[in-house]
């Protein structure tokens, strides 16, 4: 076999392996979409019953009528949107401080921020529930089943990782740029706002996308901390299609497909920033 043929054979093998990998990963999404356009009877009838003959596009209309899907959608947008703004804002400021300033305990603080990610979130479930309950009982400020309660939890959970992403990004911005701005006539805050911040837009977008997507998918805290549909988010809402006496897999899958759309859209629109932000500082620029 000559070198060219060997190279082609290697490329072909790599392509086949890549496509297999993509298919395995895409299968759940394809299955979700395929299931969502069939009737519940066909789904329960198994794979053979799910043919191309009776596609139920109506599921996508019915899902809005059966439960208050729009309400859940709105709640998700509100909670995740506010969380994204708050987490990203905190991360930008803390990340910059960690990247640029040496202060007593700065290394320890930086490591503590990352190490919080090693603790499983479920460990906080009961303590936070009790804390919120105590706040309501003692101060009279309702926290359970409120927007701000959820926003507070999500912000607290997603800020540490966001700080780390932003820190990596700021580290990759040459210090000379800030120093040049200081000499040009900026105060430190002006140098940050006029020079560093515009250069960090990819990192800020990456952080915001990370927070939004993670919060959008969160079920455990939303399930425990919210009790009524006027606060509950999509992951909680679509579970209502699975009941004690009847499972509406058709509507469940259609709702899941719709809830995936904002995630996909956000990711595809911002993926170049997302990848750049996640890998910032990994290699010399």
């Amino acid at each position: 076999m000559n070198t060219l043929t060997a190279k082609r054979a290697r490329n072909l093998t790599l392509n086949v392996v890549t496509w297999l990998f993509v298919l395995v990963n895409l299968f759940p999404i394809l299955w979700m979409v395929w299931t969502s356009i069939h009737s519940n009877e066909e789904i329960l009838g198994g794979v053979r019953a799910m043919t191309l003959d009776h596609l139920q596009w109506g599921n996508y209309l019915q899902l809005w009528q059966t439960i208050n899907y729009f309400g859940y959608f709105k709640n998700s947008l509100l909670i995740c949107g506010a969380t994204t703004i708050l987490s990203t804002a905190f991360a930008v400021m803390a990340g910059y401080a960690l990247a640029r300033f040496k202060f007593p305990g700065s290394n320890l603080f930086g490591m503590s921020v990352v190490s919080t990610q090693m603790i499983p979130g479920i460990l906080f479930l009961v303590p936070i529930y009790l804390l919120f309950w105590q706040i309501d009982k003692n101060i009279g400020l309702p926290m359970i089943n409120t927007y701000w309660g959820m926003i507070l939890i999500y912000t607290a959970f997603y800020t540490p990782m966001s700080i780390w992403i932003m820190r990596s990004f700021f580290v990759s911005v040459p210090r000379d740029l800030e120093e040049s701005a200081l000499i040009d006539g900026c105060t430190r805050f002006q140098a940050f706002r006029k020079v560093i911040l515009p250069l960090s837009v990819p990192g800020i977008i990456a952080t915001a996308v990370y927070v939004f997507l993670t919060a959008w998918d969160e079920l455990m805290f939303a399930w425990v901390m919210t009790t009524t549909s006027d606060v509950q988010t999509i992951p909680v809402g679509i579970r209502l299609y699975v009941g004690q006496y009847q499972n509406r897999f058709d509507l469940l899958m259609a709702a899941a497909a719709v809830s995936t759309l904002p995630v996909l859209l956000t990711f595809f629109l911002t993926q170049k920033y997302f990848i750049r932000g996640m890998t910032a500082g990994a290699v010399k620029g």
């Binding site: 040459p174 000379d176 740029l177 120093e179 040049s180 701005a181 200081l182 000499i183 040009d184 006539g185 900026c186 105060t187 002006q190 020079v195 515009p198 250069l199």
Partner: protein
């Protein structure tokens, strides 16, 4: 335009690491001073202290007639050109140059005039609408200079501004910066590790090592009368040759003796050597490559300093050749005319120009003469 005075300036970091020690220098108004030294000698730290980017641990910094130790960089009326240009990537060249003026709320028409004047001087008018990433290294360096010029500061600070350029461009920009200094008549403090830049550009050179000033002087002074072995070896390319030996007095004459060498020193130097108390003691002889000759007339003139050497390597530069030699266990280099027929492996007789030799105290490394 202003005078810059550094009075016993120190820079210490935590853990008692001293990077600049007792830096004392008076830079005249409109002077072009070059700080030169190897990596880690404290030259960039000193420049950053003048810029206000590093705090001064001890001592006083005066720009013009005010002490600026605690003055914010923006209020020091200085401009700085960085090694990696530090152009703002999200702004076009015009905005990069106008940035400092806008912050100072200078009238728009005045900003436009200054930016276009500077762009004309540096021949970058056609680049004003471009972003830095669309520029070559040389063009970026011009923009960085332009950004400093438009500010019309009292002092220009330049931190190895030519290090990232290729050799040809570096030579070109070297001349342009020198021309710019003549045109603007502003105080410039320039940092480099390249002794050629220092020699060709500065009115005065400050040679530094380990955070301490080794010598301050004009390029000629520093080249011809180095204070110590470090300065002698750092300035000049190829570097000065050093031969370790000792001084012996014989029948009223002084001889430099090293294995295989017995060089009679000029009579006129006797007094200086006796006064320095180095007679009979170990000394180091220094001679620059261009003061080692192979021409017959020299061999006849300096019969007491003839050396038979073996040629190891020849570097032909076209206009001249550097010949790397080995004689009596010592390695040294001679700069000879390119037409000299010399090849590796051959024996070569040379003579040291004894009027041009330097003698250093081997123990203290200080110059005797």
């Amino acid at each position: 335009m202003a005078r810059v005075q550094l009075k016993h300036v120190y820079k210490r970091y935590t853990g008692d690491v001293v990077v600049v020690k007792d830096f004392d220098l008076d830079i005249e108004d409109r002077e072009f001073v070059v700080m030169v030294g190897p990596s880690g000698c404290g030259k960039s730290t000193t420049l950053r202290m003048i810029a206000g980017l590093e705090e001064i641990t001890d001592g006083e910094l005066i720009i013009g007639d005010r002490v600026v130790n605690d003055v914010h960089p923006k209020d020091r009326d200085i401009a700085m050109v960085f090694q990696n240009y530090a152009l703002y990537p999200h702004m076009n060249i015009y905005d990069n140059m106008a940035f400092g003026l806008k912050l100072r709320k200078i009238d728009k028409q005045e900003i436009d005039r200054r930016v276009r004047d500077a762009a004309k001087i540096l021949d970058i008018v056609h680049l004003l609408d471009r972003k830095p990433k669309a520029l070559s290294g040389g063009q970026r360096q011009r923009v960085a200079l332009g950004r400093a010029i438009v500010r019309e500061p009292q002092v220009f600070l330049m931190d190895e501004p030519l290090s990232n350029l290729d050799a040809k461009l570096r030579v070109q920009m070297r001349a342009e910066i020198a021309k710019l200094h003549q045109r603007l008549q502003t105080t410039i403090i320039y940092v480099t590790h390249d002794q050629t830049e220092a020699m060709t550009m500065g009115d005065r050179i400050v040679v530094m090592k380990d955070g301490i000033i080794q010598q301050v002087g004009t390029p000629t002074e520093i080249y011809n009368h180095p204070n110590n072995i470090f300065v002698a070896s750092f300035i000049g390319s190829p570097s000065m040759n050093f031969i370790k030996g000792d001084l012996a007095e014989e029948a009223g004459s002084l001889f430099f003796r090293a294995p295989g060498l017995n060089i009679k020193l000029p009579e006129g130097r006797l007094a200086a050597l006796r006064e320095a108390g180095v007679v009979g003691k170990p000394v180091t002889l220094g001679i620059r490559p261009e003061h080692i000759h192979d021409e017959p007339v020299f061999l006849e003139t300096f019969p007491d300093s003839k050396v038979d050497a073996n040629v190891e390597v020849v570097e032909n530069l076209g206009s001249e050749s550097y010949v790397y030699l080995q004689a009596a266990g010592q390695s040294f280099v001679a700069r000879v005319a390119a037409r000299t027929a010399v090849k590796p492996g051959m024996n070569f007789t040379l003579a040291l120009d004894i009027d041009k030799i330097h003698i250093f105290n081997t123990e203290t490394e200080q110059t005797v003469f």
